[in-house]
Chain length 186, copies 2
DNA sequence: GTCTATAACGAGATAGAC
DNA sequence: GTCTATCTCGTTATAGAC
């Protein structure tokens, strides 16, 4: 794996555990085994690193979505929760988008825009998937699609925070289970 | 208002807008009109300031709860959402507990403990209030109390983040409306 | 209580050698 | 690509005068 990719993976790790203002070029450079000045060869500024992090996360997510595109809607939603549950159980990480939203006001305008775009993309994915679920009759036919998308997005972000705070993997898992139960067809 | 109280109010403002690692003694001292060294007279360390902030927020919350203790359960829940909605619409603030959970791993053990205690207290309040609502027959009688408490807590935290990200006051308000709709008796 | 002054450190960032 | 060296700035924190 090339140095830039390794740096990005490490930076994402620190982003999800310490927050954007909680790690430095030094932190990443030490873990990588190079000098912090060398990191500037790949990322001109921390701002740049932030942009690369959100772009990288977006690419990961879009690959995931593409890979599972052909599955039934309900399975896709289950797999979405599996994905976030992996984050929750991996050293109490939280979602990169959630972290960056907590640090939102210390970020540049282009970075803010990029984070919002990711969020809206995920929201659109949820709405599409709910519509598919309705066509496939796996979801309650009186489902309020927009409201449910907002509920899913907010409780995933908040649920990851809560799992960290409570130091209990069941917290997030139970939350997901109940979210799914409330939307599936009787 | 004495200097310590004013300092605490300003610090809470910066905590909720910039995160715990996003503001400094300098930030607060400038807004307060004194030198940052003088702030150390009130708070020995930033750690201390963090403890005071969470204690202060807890006192505010407990006073609020006491004031409304005699109201019907459903009204109390509505007022809870009003309180958080004020946070969301005031410069896109988020909950102090949520902020500190995002920065959790850079905090000391006593501070972590204090944050968890606040969260568990709020969770207990929700559970008590749901039970009251069931006795008063204002809530759906098949309500899963524990699961609903988790859902409320997580979607409030996540909803505040989402309202900031989307820069839209309606996001949080609609979320609250739907949370309430789903638990009220038909 | 508030001040000046300063210590000690870590951050982001750049210049230029290899 | 990676290094050493350095700059500048902001951070927490302390000592001691007023």
């Amino acid at each position: 794996m090339d140095t830039r990719t390794r740096a990005l993976d490490l930076a994402r790790h620190y982003l999800q555990t310490l927050g954007f203002n909680g790690f430095s070029f030094q932190t990443v450079a030490d873990a990588l085994g190079i000098r912090k000045a060398s990191l500037h060869y790949y990322f001109a500024s921390k701002e740049d690193l932030g942009m690369a992090l959100i772009q990288d996360y977006r690419t990961h997510y879009e690959n995931w979505a593409r890979k599972n595109a052909a599955l039934p809607a309900l399975e896709k939603l289950e797999l979405l929760f599996v994905m976030f549950n992996k984050i929750a159980t991996d050293e109490h990480k939280i979602c990169p988008v959630g972290v960056l939203t907590a640090d939102f006001n210390s970020l540049s305008r282009p970075l803010k825009k990029k984070i919002l775009e990711f969020h809206l993309g995920q929201r659109a994915w949820l709405i599409r998937t709910f519509k598919e679920g309705l066509e496939q009759k796996s979801l309650r036919k009186d489902l309020d699609i927009e409201a449910t998308a907002e509920l899913f997005l907010s409780s995933i972000q908040g649920g990851l925070l809560m799992a960290r705070l409570r130091n209990d993997p069941k917290v997030f898992k139970n939350l997901c289970k109940n979210l799914l139960k409330n939307i599936t067809a009787p």
